[in-house]
């Protein structure tokens, strides 16, 4: 899932300070399951903002609504009327949701209420960890299902570096060394031979380094009118 966390209230207040009518939009997908921007968080934030702005002596109208997914046009259509009534939209979606609202409602000013943090999973209740860097060229088949791009601090392909000690990374005792994890897993699966090969430099073109990415699936596209 996409993991995000809410911005501090003061920062959010500064982002919406010039608006009278604010619409807080939650998202029912990734940010709901990481408790950052779902229906509940949208309601809590709206109530907090209403009280806080009232205490400041400059009360703002704050309404809230949550859509199933901010990143798909059809869900955004459902809130079109509410969006039109608002001076500003405070999106509690990930960065994709914020941009989808901006793109779908070009006349409306949209601000983010979350910091989109990483692609990951909850390792235990209340703890989320990064798992994927969306590099566009998956090598998990070589590393026993543990990603060194996302989980090694240096994204090494031929690790571990000299900073690995007692299973943790040199940057922090709380950060497991991804290459120690890979080593342990390959050892337990009797596949250490995979580590003996030198991995050539990565082609980062499929990652963000090749510019903004796009996938076109001709088999799924709707025929154009001329056809």
């Amino acid at each position: 899932m996409i993991v995000a966390e809410q911005k501090p209230l003061q920062e959010i207040k500064a982002l919406i300070s010039n608006a009278q009518n604010v619409l807080v939009v939650g998202c029912g997908t990734c940010v709901t399951v990481c408790f950052a921007g779902g229906e509940r968080e949208a309601a809590i934030l709206a109530a907090s903002l209403r009280m806080s702005t009232r205490l400041d002596g400059k009360p703002q109208e704050i309404r809230h609504e949550t859509v199933q997914r901010q990143c798909e046009w059809e869900y955004l259509d459902q809130i079109a009327e509410l969006v039109q009534q608002a001076d500003i939209v405070l999106s509690l979606g990930c960065g994709i949701g914020v941009q989808a609202i901006a793109e779908h409602f070009p006349q409306k000013w949209v601000v983010p209420g979350l910091n989109t943090t990483f692609l990951g999973l909850p390792s235990e209740q209340g703890v989320w960890v990064e798992r994927c860097a969306a590099c566009g060229d998956c090598i998990l088949g070589l590393t026993g299902g543990i990603c060194p791009i996302a989980r090694c601090s240096k994204s090494l392909l031929n690790g571990p570096c000299g900073g690995s000690e007692d299973g943790h990374c040199e940057i922090s005792p709380d950060t497991p060394c991804a290459w120690q994890l890979i080593y342990d897993r390959l050892l337990s699966m009797d596949k250490l031979h995979l580590l003996m090969e030198i991995q050539p430099p990565k082609n980062w073109r499929t990652s963000r380094d090749g510019g903004p990415r796009k996938i076109v699936r001709e088999d799924l596209r709707l025929p154009t009118k001329e056809e």
């Binding site: 509940r40 309601a43 809590i44 109530a47 907090s48 209403r50 009280m51």
Partner: protein, 77 residues
């Protein structure tokens, strides 16, 4: 002047804190009910909200209470 303010306040009415009490229907709410049958008095500024369980309480309920003007929230269960 301070005295005047105090006097005026007393003249109008005694200010009372508005308290919202979220009470579990199995224990605290039943106790409040019993207190009622025993004709025990408690201030009318305390509003009791029945919950199926105090574990049902949500941050949002507390915020709503404050937003509606409560001075304090009490959870009983």
């Amino acid at each position: 002047m301070d005295q005047q303010v105090t006097r005026n306040r007393e003249a109008n009415q005694v200010w009372q804190q508005q308290i919202v009490c979220y009470a579990c229907e199995h224990c605290a709410y039943a106790a409040a009910d019993l207190a009622g049958t025993l004709r025990m008095q408690y201030p009318p500024s305390i509003k009791i909200v029945q919950l199926p369980c105090s574990g049902k309480l949500d941050v949002l309920m507390v915020l709503h209470a404050f937003e509606q003007g409560a001075d304090g929230v009490m959870v009983a269960g």
